[in-house]
């Protein structure tokens, strides 16, 4: 699962790639990212703590930076922005996922083909 510039990123449940993508689309704070996360990942609930921890991990790995966003109506929150390294990792991750998608499609295609033909030699 190694990615050239993104060896620090994990593709597990697409949490980190998903967060990188959202921050790439628009600099956001954790609260907002948690609210948006289900748009990408609606089948599996991810706890807010997991999202906050992944944001901090990616900041530590310099994929994201953060600063305080002071609002006129509400408290100041930590605003995350993507870095150059983060953009490179996002590009590489998308390519990796694209490759995985092809592998998954090939697997499913072969699987369905076999099932339609009546299954394995043993099943026949």
């Amino acid at each position: 699962m190694a990615i050239k510039n993104g060896e620090d990123i994990t593709l597990d449940k697409l949490i980190q790639p998903g967060l990188l993508l959202f921050v790439y689309i628009k600099p956001s704070h954790g609260y907002e990212l948690i609210q948006n996360y289900n748009k990408l990942q609606s089948t599996e609930e991810v706890e807010p703590g997991t999202i906050y921890r992944n944001l901090r991990r990616m900041e530590k790995n310099r994929l994201l930076t953060s600063s305080w966003q002071i609002s006129e109506s509400g408290p100041a929150r930590r605003l995350y922005e993507i870095t150059e390294k983060g953009i490179n990792v996002l590009d590489e991750t998308a390519a990796k996922i694209e490759k995985q998608k092809l592998q998954v499609e090939q697997f499913l295609s072969l699987y369905r083909e076999q099932k339609e033909q009546g299954g394995s030699a043993d099943e026949k």
Partner: protein, 273 residues
């Protein structure tokens, strides 16, 4: 020391006692001679003290809305959200029926056993208190148990000024169960039941659902009530306008919200955000 203007004065929610102290120790490594005065109470009580003239250099509360309700803009410009938490039901190995209570039967265990004492903190003084009442309201809807809120509200045994006092009472055996923050339960090694996100006030995705819960508390002025709406739990910190040590206060905030502070918050059961 109490009236020393050079003393660094921090006023904070009781639930933050341990992480605040640990961050002060980091500050002491930089300034070994620094005099520090820590004072703590329920967050609404803290805010009222500052509004009433108490001079502190830093104020850290369990709900950013307390800043907005009582202190902004007159006493504080803005607050900084730094951690989140969730509500749990805390108990220990001596609590009556601790061996049978679960996340599914907790309300029946509390309500159907006259020998069980359970407590909460004071909703007028402490966010943990009004969050407990919100949890009960949300539980009534979530479990489809009409009358649950009133039953729980009619049967509690003790109310304490702040969540930390409730946890201490639990340790001393004055109550069997207490509605607490997860962080406080972890800091005191208390057993606890984790509630579903729909009622534990932890998840920003459920903000609209939490907003169904409302609690009326004493307002900023006598006779003036304030209605508080349910929101995800967020702790916040601010430098009051009358702080005598604004630079040092900012340095403390940088520690608390920096890598070392985040480790401290995690170790104390809070989620840095």
């Amino acid at each position: 020391m109490k009236n020393n203007p050079n003393c660094f004065k921090v006023l904070h929610a009781g639930a933050l006692r341990k992480p605040i102290k640990e961050c002060i120790h980091i500050l002491w490594k930089r300034y070994p001679d620094l005099k520090v005065e820590l004072d703590y109470a329920g967050s609404r009580a803290c805010a009222r003290a500052v509004a009433g003239g108490k001079i502190v250099d830093l104020i850290a509360l369990a709900d950013y809305k307390v800043f907005e309700d009582i202190l902004i803009p007159r006493f504080v410009d803005t607050s900084f959200v730094f951690a989140t938490d969730q509500m749990v039901l805390a108990f220990d190995e001596f609590s009556t029926h601790n061996e049978i209570i679960t996340k599914d039967n907790w309300m029946d265990v509390l309500l159907n056993n006259s020998q069980i004492k359970y407590g909460r903190s004071d909703h007028h003084r402490d966010p943990c208190g009004y969050r407990t009442l919100m949890l009960w309201q949300l539980a009534e809807k979530f479990y489809n148990r009409p009358g649950l809120f009133k039953a729980l509200e009619d049967s509690w045994s003790n109310v304490y000024p702040k969540s930390f006092d409730l946890a201490c009472a639990l340790l001393q055996g004055q109550v069997d169960y207490g509605f607490e923050y997860l962080s406080v339960a972890k800091q005191l090694n208390l057993k606890h039941i984790v509630f579903p996100p729909e009622i534990n006030l932890s998840d920003p995705r459920l903000a609209d659902y939490y907003a169904r819960a409302k609690v009326v508390v004493d307002g900023s002025y006598p006779g003036l009530d304030t209605e508080i709406t349910g929101t995800p739990i967020e702790f916040a910190i601010a430098i009051p306008k009358k702080s005598n040590q604004k630079e040092l206060a900012q340095e403390f905030i940088n520690i608390l919200t920096g890598p070392r502070g985040e480790e401290i918050l995690e170790q104390n059961g809070l989620i840095p955000c």
